[in-house]
């Protein structure tokens, strides 16, 4: 840190922090990124890499759609980005799932966007390795897969070339507030850094960072996922796959992350081919605090579920397995934007399983807020206030 004064200090160098740094640097701001560990050593070093439009609900569609467009621009700007424009297939397992596909199609048509309903024949022509009994799918062409850690490097690399400073192994230990609780400085073990803006992009560790800095509480809960990846050139499929029944469970009975009952865990099929033919196999979900230990039983269920849809995956050599933590919020939307009680404080956290997808739009919105520009999307659904209101009612 040669300079002691920055326009904005970003706390966290995961994908969201890297994107915020990138968009702030593009806006001409002097950026400092503080990371208590290394770049992408938290959730972004342990997650899947989907860039994915969610047709519902409305605010999430707008966010994901905008972000996917920003990713496409990033791909054009950075040819080194490992970006696989593979699209996504939402798969029905049986005829009972077909109405879910039609629901997705209606939703996307309602936004004036385009996708395709595939019958069994069209589906197997597109992906011959799928189980032969699958009755159909919904295909969205703009979805893609990146390598998350490499993507962090690309975003942060652009920020650094635009003048941003990155300090790894440097935690923020405090903030100094001025009149009107306005942010004036951030404290680190290496001294104080003057700044008018602080962006907390610490993912699942955001509540802890806020506690440490004496900032308002943020209702984000870690939700573990267990993953496996194959050797290169081992993927039997070339499109990202999800089972559409996931929507049913996702909107059904939800586990209370603050409840006293231990979460038994759940899994659904999500298979992602990557550049060079590796294939990432997920997904499991379980609340269990900040423990990142792999859960073998859930991973086993996840592999079995993947093999139900893609039997040939059983022959693919698995190179690594690991677990990561998603920053879950109760209404499935991230906290993005200013925290009104503390002028100069901004949140960029709580993206659950959409951190990679939503990082660019998050960076854009935060940079717009800091520079006083009109936001490219409505910010109200992303404010901390809506979370606080929810907490009060619940």
């Amino acid at each position: 840190m040669s300079s002691r004064s920055f326009d904005v200090v970003v706390i966290g160098a995961g994908i969201v922090g890297c994107a915020v740094a990138c968009w702030c640097a593009r806006a001409g701001l002097r950026v400092l990124v503080l990371e208590r560990d290394g770049v992408a050593t938290g959730t972004s070093g342990a997650c899947m890499g989907h860039i994915m439009v969610n047709p519902e609900p409305e605010p999430l569609y707008r966010l994901t759609r905008r972000s996917v467009t920003l990713w496409q621009e990033l791909r054009d700007r950075h040819p080194e980005l490992h970006y696989l424009a593979c699209g996504a297939l939402w798969l029905a397992e049986s005829d009972a799932d077909l109405p879910l596909l039609q629901g997705l199609d209606r939703a996307i048509a309602g936004h004036g966007d385009r996708a395709w309903l595939l019958d069994a024949r069209e589906l197997h022509r597109r992906e011959p390795a799928l189980a032969p009994d699958l009755p159909g799918a919904w295909f969205y062409p703009d979805d893609a897969v990146v390598l998350p850690m490499q993507a962090c490097g690309v975003l942060l690399g652009e920020a650094v070339r635009l003048g941003a400073t990155v300090c790894t192994h440097t935690p923020a230990t405090g903030v100094r507030l001025g009149p009107g609780s306005r942010i004036e400085a951030v404290r680190t073990p290496e001294g104080e850094v003057a700044t008018a803006h602080v962006v907390v992009a610490a993912g699942v560790w955001t509540p802890a960072v806020h506690r440490q800095l004496g900032l308002p509480p943020v209702p984000i809960f870690p939700r573990r996922g267990d993953l496996a990846i194959t050797a290169p050139f081992a993927t039997p499929v070339h499109t990202q796959l999800l089972e559409v029944a996931y929507l049913r469970t996702a909107t059904g009975k939800t586990i209370d992350p603050e409840g006293s009952e231990p979460d038994p865990g759940a899994n659904a099929m999500n298979v992602q081919p990557q550049t060079h033919g590796t294939c990432l196999i997920g997904m499991t979900r379980q609340f269990g605090g900040l423990d990142r230990t792999l859960h073998p039983e859930l991973l086993q269920r996840s592999l079995a579920r993947a093999a139900r849809f893609v039997p040939a995956l059983l022959d693919a050599p698995v190179v690594r397995t690991w677990a990561g933590l998603r920053p879950y919020t109760k209404d499935k939307l991230p906290f993005v934007g200013p925290v009104p009680e503390i002028p100069g404080l901004h949140l960029a956290a709580g993206h659950e399983g959409l951190g990679i997808t939503l990082a660019p739009v998050t960076g854009e919105l935060v940079a717009q807020a800091i520079t006083g520009q009109a936001p490219s999307l409505p910010m109200a659904p992303l404010g901390l206030a809506r979370g606080a209101a929810g907490a009060r009612h619940g």
Partner: protein, 467 residues
């Protein structure tokens, strides 16, 4: 159906350490199973020819240590201890192992586990080292002594340490013309090494055997020389060799170009420690910088019921491996409830201490030469699996800092099927030599299941069985 085996003691690895461990445990009364990745027991050093080859004899005269190997193999066979050959152990928990063999999964449940997983050649990257025809010294030995092949016509052998001699003699016996034999360490290292050898009768005899064969060959071992580059379009056709200083740093004053269709490289050994890491044994840096499981005076690791012996606890050679295996076998049997007389332990412990002292001196005579990591050019690959160039690692380090975890993530170095076995020490080496990063700042990398790549169906089945 998954095959399941029960044993008091499961020994992983059928080299000298594993064979000795199995014998000792069996003699103490324990029910023992040996698991080994090779087609026949013996490991890399007591390598046996395939049974299908019949009795066509070894191409190179047996070294004295091979008599020990034959005796161990014979005794294990006579003891009735089963050897599960051609199995890849890909998951280990205290008390249970899962292996893959021909696409099928087996599970071994054992009260005690002995890790005798051995070692493999340490690689140092240089331009062209990924060309077909550039192989490790161990690979060349397998070709000659394990498969009865003449692997090339003109070979360059380069590296450091006592294992260059057996490689040279094997190649010569196979009729390969060795056009250059290059020891990177200075001649003083050889003298220190000889000092170490003289302290052990077995090592004296072994050294004399190879020295005699080498002297008869008329070859000259060039000290302070190494391979600078391998050249060729789709296979090696020529090499550039040159001199290095005492730290291994290349000197560009005496470069020579030689035609060669085979390059054998081995810059010492590094331990096969992935199962120890997977079992979450406490890991320490050995004298050569390798990560090895911490063991007590009876070869017990920090994890109850897990023992380790031989090269995996520190490169030491065949006599140390045998002594440690013997001790670990006794300790594993005792852990499984069998009685071992205190005097047997005392004797085994004393022998182990004696042998380890000799091998430590020998190891110290041939340290990893840090300057060798300057052989790599900016475009030289430091990670073979993911095709990561030195330049990319340096650029990433400049952007994100020199932390191994972050560099792996940013460049993908170490993320491929070798799981870091080849490139982890290389990344540490180039960071140290090129960027001055102290290797001791890096933590020991964790190992997850599977510790070697295995078909998803096998992983699934093992997780189902082991829970």
């Amino acid at each position: 159906m998954t095959r399941t085996h029960a044993a008091d003691v499961a020994v992983i690895g059928a080299g000298p350490a594993g064979l000795a461990a199995a014998l000792a445990a069996r003699q103490a009364g324990a029910v023992v199973t040996i698991l080994d990745e090779g087609a026949r027991p013996g490991g890399q050093i007591f390598r046996q020819l395939p049974a299908a080859f019949g009795t066509i004899g070894q191409p190179a005269a047996d070294a004295p240590s091979h008599a020990l190997g034959h005796a161990l193999l014979h005794d294990v066979e006579a003891s009735g201890v089963p050897v599960l050959a051609r199995v890849t152990v890909f998951e280990a928990r205290p008390g249970a192992l899962a292996y893959e063999r021909d696409g099928e999964v087996g599970v071994v449940r054992a009260k005690a586990i002995v890790l005798a997983t051995g070692a493999y050649d340490r690689s140092v990257p240089f331009p062209g080292w990924t060309l077909p025809g550039v192989v490790t010294a161990g690979a060349a030995q397998v070709m000659v002594r394990g498969q009865m092949l003449r692997p090339g016509t003109r070979a360059v052998v380069a590296g450091t340490g006592p294992l260059l001699l057996p490689t040279l003699t094997a190649l010569q016996a196979a009729g390969v013309r060795v056009v250059a034999a290059l020891e990177a360490a200075p001649r003083t290292a050889l003298l220190r090494g000889v000092g170490a050898l003289l302290r052990s009768r077995a090592k004296r005899r072994e050294a004399w055997h190879y020295a005699r064969a080498f002297l008869r060959s008329g070859l000259r071992l060039r000290h302070g020389w190494t391979v600078f580059a391998a050249h060729g379009a789709d296979r090696v056709a020529a090499v550039t060799i040159g001199r290095v200083d005492r730290t291994g740093r290349p000197r560009r004053d005496h470069e020579q170009r030689l035609e060669a269709d085979l390059v054998c490289v081995g810059f010492g050994l590094e331990p096969s420690n992935e199962l120890a890491r997977r079992l979450r044994c406490t890991m320490l840096r050995g004298p050569d910088g390798s990560w090895v499981p911490q063991v007590d005076a009876r070869m017990a690791t920090s994890v109850a019921g897990v023992f380790a012996a031989g090269e995996v606890v520190g490169i030491g050679g065949v006599d140390t491996a045998r002594a440690e295996g013997h001790l670990a076998g006794l300790a594993a049997a005792a852990h499984a409830g069998w009685t071992v007389a205190p005097e047997r332990f005392a004797q085994a412990e004393a022998e182990r201490v004696r042998e380890r002292a000799v091998s430590r001196t020998l190891l110290a005579a041939f340290p990893v030469l840090p300057g060798l990591y300057e052989l790599a050019a900016p475009d030289t690959l430091v990670c073979r699996c993911e095709d990561v160039r030195l330049r990319e690692v340096r650029e990433a380090a400049a952007l994100f800092g020199p932390e191994l975890r972050t560099l792996k993530m940013a460049t993908r170095a170490g993320m491929g099927p070798c799981q870091g076995r080849i490139c982890a020490s290389i990344l540490e080496g180039v960071l140290a030599s090129r960027l001055g990063v102290d290797p001791h700042r890096h933590a020991c990398p964790a190992a997850q299941v599977p510790v070697k790549p295995v078909a998803a169906r096998c992983l699934l089945e093992a997780l189902r069985e082991l829970g």
